[in-house]
Subunit: 342 residues, 2 copies
Amino acid sequence: MKVCFYGNTGHATTALAARNKLPGVQYTACCPSYPGENLNKLHTTAKKLGITLLQYSCLDEMLDAEKPDILVVDNRFAERYPVETKALLAGIHVYADKPIATNLSDLFDLYKTVRETGKHLWAMHTTRYELHFYTVRQLILNGAIGKVRMVNCQKSYRLGTRPDFFKKRETYGGTILWVSIHAIDMIRMVTGKECLSVYSTQSSADNFGNGEMEIIATSTLELEDNILATISTDYYRPANAHSHDDDRLRVVGTEGIIEAARRDGEHEVRLINASNNGFTPIKQLQPPMIFEDFVHTIEGRISGIFSMRETFLNAYTAIRAQESADKREVIRISHPVNFSFD
Amino acid sequence: MKVCFYGNTGHATTALAARNKLPGVQYTACCPSYPGENLNKLHTTAKKLGITLLQYSCLDEMLDAEKPDILVVDNRFAERYPVETKALLAGIHVYADKPIATNLSDLFDLYKTVRETGKHLWAMHTTRYELHFYTVRQLILNGAIGKVRMVNCQKSYRLGTRPDFFKKRETYGGTILWVSIHAIDMIRMVTGKECLSVYSTQSSADNFGNGEMEIIATSTLELEDNILATISTDYYRPANAHSHDDDRLRVVGTEGIIEAARRDGEHEVRLINASNNGFTPIKQLQPPMIFEDFVHTIEGRISGIFSMRETFLNAYTAIRAQESADKREVIRISHPVNFSFD
């Protein structure tokens, strides 16, 4: 399979990272996704793996010349829908950074296109493939905490210097769609349940000159089966903190509580239940890599860790969560959408 | 000053705990606050301090005979208002467990009574007087994290076996009023700001036979100055956890993040800012004891840590937070109530 890259504003290099796991994949070319986009990081990462990416100046030219099997869509966050649609209609599978769409109309149209073309579209929900969060998922699936009742997620990032397109909702999409969506995925991952209502808040105050960008946001979800969940998102992680992120996941069950969080360095998993005291970190399990899993899924080797259905449900939930913050009201979802790909 | 006790369903013994700090205080008597209430724990705690409490069978009899200066009101959580009012009107200061009232009508009437009688009424917001949370407050007041932008609070308790009155809202009052109110106090403490809107969720499912008692609850607050806050409350802390509670406070500021949480045992305070790396716990400061501070306040020796105004504002905010969960809607507070005690 041949892979091309459209932009690199986010996690495109996760496709390259799986190279050694995917001997049948060729990474051939890239092109910028907006005028002046710098693709040096993508080229450097590729070169370290012995790959030279041919750079085109425009998407159509690249697609015509390369005819890739997979397009990595990593452009400005609010501009993915037309590109994803174009690729799918050209018979190309799409590996796009989240969000795959920033409004419901685009999302439902994208769903229609995926159904019609039969091509695969995955969002880069990288958190499912991080050792610690994956370990939490597996332990819960194995009954470590009984029935899940409540989930608390934290996304905290260093702000650093963000590209100019973060300053406008029109190109950035919004912090709930760019950051909190990871937490939405984590919550859906550990509960297996859908959101019935969501309430969010957000603020762009004191955002160090980043225009409309919301620097803090919260969401509260009520899920099926009376499960409650909270999300806290911020870009205020101090510059001299030892890591870019301070992401946390706490899952409260009827028979135990499990958490993944940084304590003094790298993420640990701690579990308190009848047979674990919470003092000894749990040995972490090794998941496959996300792009590896995507390619295997296209080939029919399905792991079940992630899917197109999850991709659409995460985007749907995040869009509704952002709608709540924008309208300052509770959004109720009487019947969870059934994104079906049978 | 003479102190008497009405019931012991909660934190009455915090009044006894300050005994050595208060040589001028005499603890003389107690009486049950509902038929069959067992006061053994109160008597045992008193005896360990060399105090014998005379036990009366009814409140009126105790007040007539003892004429206390302070009544410790620690009865069933939803039944405080008439007792507090009776004591205040009898010229007695009141040290009551939270909540001091469970509806706005009682709360405003209580405010009127306090204003008219000039007596002092404090709720037992013990968290302000815990070393770790007090240390967080002092560091923030000293500018350690710049401007506060977001607060995350967790209240997590072991369920154990709860008295029967927890099973009914009528006597219990509700989990937001009994537990989340501590977090409301923490949020108000570290921001110095009032709540402009609140949204809460709660669930009584899977509560191990505890009737109407909500076993999980969340609240999201928007405060003055675009500050956001979240509260997560649960009674699911596993029985074999090393402590009853796992309470946490995380405060995100423009120049740093500070947290108080249990990591491997007792609460630590960690700070990341320009001069702290978050790896070395911060030395904790020693606050006065809450009842000591209450007595000193009555005597005119005001520390400023807590007050009657805070007592009423916490109750007001908690009642609105519970109203949100009960009505399943966002509660907006266009003008924060000014509980004034000049």
